[in-house]
Symmetry: C2
């Protein structure tokens, strides 16, 4: 189960209503940040997230509203006494952009910051550990931009305690049973794993696609994800502006969600021009009903049971 | 009359209670910003200040909590269609710090940003126009730091309408009368200016001193100002920490206010460790009674009538 925390879902200009782009995907007590607009560290704190659990930051592109919060966050982590490494995944230019400010202002911090550059024009595996895989999603924007696909790995099967007790399975064998092995009794009888365990929780998938024009090439990559966050900067009435700025309308986002057969769509990256965003929601829901609007401090539990219920 | 708007008065670590350092001094419909920590543009907007009236930004020193809001603010001003110049007064290193990020992210903005460097180790005239003078105040901190003295210039005398009507003074002479000249009637009689006008409003003085250790050398520069904003990062119980970090206690701020015979003291730059800042207020008021605590979105009208009433 992923937990998604929305720190900011406004577009370029911060308003009194929305903060700049940032969100946190949490899995197994670790936080993975996506984008880091100005003010992200304040939102992170306001949402009572734990700075120590943050180890990896994925930056979609180098427009200020998606990355200008990095120097302040890095500096604050230093003041909080951090010692563990911080990994930032971004376009190669991020180093040129941020190194002078970090060299000057963060030279005394007690931990290392590693920039990992990637090529946003192709889908690449950016990060992998035993529970999670993060892959880039090439997007279509005014500057090189990538979204991110978070794929949970399938966990262990669930032990049926009554059965393992019945067969007196020793503790030393439990991990193998959870991993799917059959059990052989001292008499040589094979007990098939399906009698001892229930299936593992389904591995969940979350895709973040912002900023981008309507771009059908992402469909095979995000096919069938449980939750898709797709930018919806504009309403249909401003389609011309969406085209000029390489952004999407809410209807575009919904078209992508529909064709990729995702389970739920979250709209975000709202232009400051809409005081009432229900127009965006309505336009998307006409095409893809299971759509919601993002908002600051919203939390989505990306959990098989919850997503199915919709 | 100055109007002082507090955008942020927290210290290094932003909290859910306080924003990072920034304030705006307004005079004759122009805004002058002092410091620009991360999140300043959001606070500026939340306080309904007008971006078009902002032309000059004074940066006390290059610690992140006083300047990391610059790239976002500069970028936002560009997106809002600004065409007029923006002047930033800061230590010379500001260029090395911010130029890469501005060159990269703000190359398409339609206005020019000028960095004016100054030497924080001596008091210098930084800015002057017909209504205002801004001078630097050398402070004592871990890096080169200066405060700022804002001095209003004396305005025009106030016409006594009944008298100018009585003497049938033509409109063409009014500016000279306001400036203090006597009036000569067609018959050659000299009417002294004091019969025609009341004195101009007193010119006000405001001093900003943050960040700094207790530093008596500033006293002659800020002597008798109407309002002094002085950092008060720590309470007496944390005096050792204040010394180590080159910050002041609330009592230090009050000592400075008392010796400089200022009219009112505003405390700010509070450490995140105090959930209740009345301890700072109490410790300062024991030494200098006319003390108040700064807070986000507070507005102080620095006006002779109001300051005297206290």
């Amino acid at each position: 189960m992923f937990r998604l925390s929305i720190l900011g879902c406004g577009s370029a200009l911060p308003t009194t209503k929305h903060c700049l782009s940032s969100q946190v995907v949490s899995l197994h007590d670790k936080h993975y940040m996506i984008d880091c607009g100005e003010g992200t560290q304040m939102q992170f704190r306001a949402m009572k997230l734990n700075f120590q659990r943050l180890g990896h930051i994925f930056i979609s592109h180098l427009h200020g509203d998606h990355c200008f919060g990095l120097p302040g966050l890095i500096s604050t982590l230093g003041m909080l006494g951090r010692t563990s490494d911080l990994h930032i995944y971004a376009h190669a230019d991020a180093v040129q952009l941020f190194k002078p400010i970090l060299d000057y202002s963060c030279r005394a911090i007690g931990y290392s910051v590693f920039f990992h550059d990637f090529n946003p024009s192709q889908s690449e595996l950016l990060f992998e550990n035993k529970g999670l895989k993060v892959t880039s999603i090439p997007l279509k924007h005014r500057v090189p931009t990538a979204g991110f696909l978070f794929e949970e790995k399938e966990g262990n099967r669930h032990i049926i305690r009554a059965m393992t007790d019945f067969y007196k399975i020793p503790v030393s064998k439990m991990n193998a049973i959870k991993a799917g092995e059959d059990f052989v009794t001292p008499d040589g009888v094979i007990v098939p794993n399906v009698r001892l365990t229930l299936p593992a929780d389904p591995a969940m998938k979350y895709a973040y696609c912002s900023d981008t024009a309507y771009y059908r090439k992402i469909i095979p990559i995000i096919e069938s994800v449980d939750v898709l966050y797709h930018e919806a900067t504009f309403a249909n009435v401003d389609l011309k502006r969406a085209k000029e700025t390489f952004h999407s309308s809410a209807a575009h986002a919904a078209e992508i969600a529909k064709e990729a057969r995702v389970k739920q769509l979250i709209l975000g990256h709202f232009s400051a021009r809409y005081t009432d965003e229900t127009i965006l929601l309505r336009e998307a829901q006409e095409i893809f009903p299971n759509t919601v609007l993002a908002n600051e401090k919203m939390i989505f539990d990306i959990d098989a049971k919850k997503i199915k219920n919709k």
